[in-house]
């Protein structure tokens, strides 16, 4: 522990030295710029900014919305401009005149949303509350299972009274944006964490550090500590500024912080040039942000939204309760990825690996070898396949997003091929790398390893399904999944066959890895295709 603190202190003084050249005035100036930008962009940047030109004439509510540019005209001129396609809509007092083309109709719809709000403000301020908003709806919730006798003690939610025209739609946009405020500083801070590693790599101090009597684990943890403390401090600050529950915010965002740091720990391990770092960081930021934001947008309408911890934050800001299972569902995988990254880091943090300039694919292969070589292949291969399941899952979600842009006919095929490809890579790469280094040689051993890899993968796959389904929804689906126990043997055999094809083709027939993978992927794809056909 002492060692870790020493490293942490060293890191703090490094940062101080780095930024000591810049005067405090510059820092204040930059911070002011940041605050000012946040303030300026808060309201003005909106979907559709500057798209519509509106002509107005007579008594019309003031239109202050970045989507509309206003021209004040008289009645005849307004109609001429509208006909000449110079403006999209013309508002003449209470009358709205428009053309019949798309652009004008879009403008009308956008205006409708805006003017409705303005009218409510006008009515609310000029009439008594009861007259202006004459409808109250008391919402009660009924337990669907009450009659069947289960869950009779389930607490009914208290009645919620709403006024329809003042109730925003349940889409959680605003809360997701607020939750995103927590993520941005964490990402920013972790970029500094990354550059700290790079800095020490360039001036070779890392080499000296590695020869000191401390473990790589202590180095990583020590370097991470100041940044992690800083990240948690910003979390507390944002919770205070947005009137959130501080302890709850910490509990929600601590695993997320670990997750982001874990990913940024990998960036300096793989970079070769500065440009590499920039691009890899960008990729990582994009992927993590979309992984966090995308599910949270569906808070309340789809239970799988709980994959993202931002969903919990959205719930927190809506004052809706959630249980410890909902908390663990996003948090555990993130903590697991952190643990995995720390383990991988301890293996990769050696001079030979860090300083080598090789193609990225070669570096990844080396990294995998370093992770696996320290224990028995019979143990490390299945564990590798099992641990990679969350990553495979994340990649497949990304493919889903890509594929949604394709024509419907191609969508299914593309997804099937891409996911088969990813699965084959994960299952075979460990064995191939071990064979390349001569750890396994005989065909028999390779086939046994292929079986173990398939087994690990299948266990991981089913565990993920079981966990996600049993936490998120009721157990009916999960029991259906496992009811036919014998059917597990068929996918196991299938997975084993594909992996065996890839590994044997690569290591024994000496085909290039890409060719071997293509063969395995194709067989896998046709198997899946056949299964889908069988279901119809």
């Amino acid at each position: 522990m002492h060692q870790i603190l020493v490293i942490a202190w060293r890191e703090v003084s490094r940062l101080r030295k780095r930024f000591s050249g810049t005067s405090p005035i510059t820092v204040i100036l930059l911070l002011a710029a940041l605050g000012f930008s946040a303030f300026a962009l808060r309201n003005t940047v909106a979907l559709g900014s500057g798209l519509y030109r509106v002509g107005i004439s007579g008594e019309v509510p003031a239109i202050q919305d970045s989507r509309f540019s206003i021209v004040t005209v008289d009645a005849i001129e307004g109609k001429t401009l509208l006909d000449k396609h110079i403006i999209d809509v013309f508002i003449n007092g209470a009358q709205v005149i428009y053309r019949d083309d798309d652009k004008s109709l879009y403008a009308v719809k956008a205006l409708k949303q805006y003017l409705e709000k303005q009218e409510l403000i006008r009515i609310g301020s000029s009439y008594a509350e009861g007259e202006a908003f004459p409808l109250r709806v008391g919402i009660n919730y009924l337990n669907a299972s009450q009659a069947s006798g289960q869950n009779e003690a389930a607490p009914a939610k208290p009645e919620e009274i709403i006024i329809p025209s003042l109730t925003p739609p349940p889409a959680p946009f605003t809360q997701v944006i607020v939750a995103l405020f927590y993520i941005m500083p964490i990402t920013f801070i972790s970029i500094f964490f990354t550059s700290s590693f790079m800095d020490e790599k360039i001036n070779r101090r890392l080499t000296i550090l590695l020869s000191a009597p401390i473990t790589p684990f202590q180095i990583m943890l020590g370097k991470m500590l100041p940044y992690a403390v800083f990240a948690l401090a910003t979390t507390v600050l944002i919770a205070i500024l947005t009137n959130g529950n501080i302890l709850l915010a910490l509990a929600i965002f601590a695993p997320t912080t670990l997750f982001i740091f874990a990913i940024y720990l990998m960036v300096p391990m793989f970079y070769r040039t500065f440009k590499d770092t920039t691009f890899i960081s960008m990729l990582v930021t994009t992927l993590t942000t979309s992984y966090l934001v995308f599910p949270a947008m569906f808070t309340g309408s789809n239970d799988l939204a709980y994959i993202s911890p931002l969903t919990l934050a959205v719930k927190m800001y809506r004052n809706e309760p959630f249980g410890w299972r909902e908390y663990l569902f996003p948090s555990l995988p993130m903590a697991a990825i952190f643990g995995f990254a720390m383990f991988a880091g301890t293996r990769m943090l050696n001079e030979e690996f860090l300083m080598g300039y090789k193609p990225i694919s070669r570096k990844v292969a080396d990294a995998i070898y370093l992770m696996m070589a320290h224990s028995q292949p019979y143990l490390s291969v299945p564990i590798w396949s099992l641990l990679m399941i969350p990553a495979v899952y994340m990649i497949q979600v990304a493919f889903l997003a890509f594929a949604s842009n394709l024509p419907i006919g191609m969508m299914l095929g593309a997804i099937l091929i891409a996911s088969a490809f990813v699965e084959e890579v994960v299952k075979s790469i460990g064995i191939v790398v071990l064979a390349e280094h001569g750890v396994v040689t005989s065909t028999r051993n390779i086939i046994v390893l292929a079986f173990l890899s398939a087994l690990g993968f299948l266990i991981g796959e089913k565990l993920l399904l079981l966990v996600s389904i049993s936490i998120v929804s009721q157990s009916s689906i999960s029991s259906a999944l496992f009811s036919a126990g014998i059917f597990l043997l068929i996918p196991l055999f299938a997975h084993f066959t594909f992996t065996a094809i890839v590994t044997v083709l690569r290591t024994k027939v000496k085909l290039p890895y890409t060719v071997a993978l293509t063969a395995g992927t194709l067989v896998h794809f046709f198997y899946n295709w056949y299964l889908m056909g069988g279901m119809r």
Binding site: A144, P164, F274, F298, F402
Partner: protein
């Protein structure tokens, strides 16, 4: 001129060799498809019209109370199936048998303020779906009650076309695809200059027959060339997706100018700070501030691209020229400052 081209070539080939540019293109493709997938998802989950189109016909609501209530006709017009009941108990029985999705209770003798009750299933997903679908009929009912009180609400009969995808394509997707390469170009310039400084290779480079200004300009040129290739590719892709874009030449020119602006200001930052860590940080801050200021001054390149693309009457090449003037000023400033890199 030859050494200048040699540096441009070296920069471009290093990017191609490292395959890093592929990552950048992947990111853009990913953002574009993810945001449109997000939008489609949101549309189908949060848009009452879309819900009604795909599953709304199966929503059954029981209504307890006065049978001639206008709310009932508003609901039916929306396409929701309404079943009248005499008492709440009757309706609840049907609800528990799974024949109803929700119940509305309208108490008799409503005067000026009405309070109705809504009974929803205790499941987030289904209840929010129902709430979205009945939002519009409830608002219409509210306006009806207001009219009873003698309050007239204007602009209630406007229709139009759903705007989300139009606004998304022209104000988010197109500007994102045109300016993300520019953002990357700036980052690349910072990397490429600070790497030479931190690895002490700049001095060697300068022993070639090339000035410091020539070197930096070559690096900026390489970054801008890369970004323009990406922009052209995105334009073609959008065109293949049948997204109509007016003024494509002006838009491309604006994208080049903006890439020039970001790379030049990135080079300025690198010349002043000389290390990657601080330069990248300051570069992203400057970028953010620049976006904020341009938005406030009503001179935002994002808005200019959107307006050029939809063929806005008031937007033309002159709006692009403004940015060119700004770029020229920045570049002159860089020529003055770049000497600091050598000493």
């Amino acid at each position: 001129m030859i050494p200048f081209l040699a540096v441009v070539k070296k920069e471009l080939s290093s990017v191609l060799r490292d395959r890093t540019i592929i990552i950048s293109i992947l990111i853009q493709l990913f953002i574009a498809s993810f945001s449109s997938a997000l939008l489609l998802g949101m549309l189908s989950l949060y848009d009452a019209d879309t819900i009604m189109k795909y599953g709304g016909a199966s929503i059954k609501i029981g209504m307890v109370g006065a049978s001639d209530n206008p709310l009932e006709s508003f609901m039916t017009k929306r396409g929701i199936q309404i079943t009248p009941f005499a008492t709440l108990t009757d309706a609840e029985t049907e609800f528990y048998q799974g024949k109803l999705n929700a119940i509305i209770l309208i108490p008799p003798n409503i005067f000026n303020t009405a309070e109705i009750k809504l009974y929803l299933p205790n499941s987030d997903a289904i209840s929010s779906l129902i709430r979205m679908v009945i939002q519009e009929p409830l608002k219409q009912y509210e306006n009806y009650l207001r009219a009873q009180n003698g309050i007239e609400v204007r602009y209630t009969d406007l229709k139009g076309k759903p705007t989300t995808s139009f606004e998304f394509v022209y104000s988010v997707l197109l500007p994102m695809l045109m300016f993300f390469p520019a953002f990357v170009a700036g980052s690349m310039t910072v990397d490429s200059i600070t790497e030479e400084v931190e690895n002490n290779t700049l001095q060697t480079l300068l022993s070639a027959p090339l000035t410091i200004n020539g070197t930096i300009s070559a690096k900026i040129t390489a970054a801008v060339i890369l970004s323009i290739i990406q922009c052209i590719a995105w334009m073609v892709l959008l065109w293949l997706n049948r997204i109509a874009i007016q003024n494509p030449v002006w838009i491309l020119l604006l994208a080049v100018i903006v890439a020039g602006i970001t790379s030049t200001s990135a080079a300025l930052g690198a010349a002043l700070l000389r290390d990657r860590e601080r330069s990248q940080f300051v570069y992203s801050l400057i970028l953010l501030t620049a976006i904020a200021i341009s938005t406030l001054l009503d001179l935002s390149p994002i808005e200019t691209v959107s307006r050029l693309a939809i063929g806005d009457y008031y937007t033309s090449g002159w709006n692009v020229a403004v940015f060119a003037v700004f770029l020229a000023g920045l570049y002159l400033l860089l020529l003055k400052i770049s000497r600091r890199l050598v000493v």
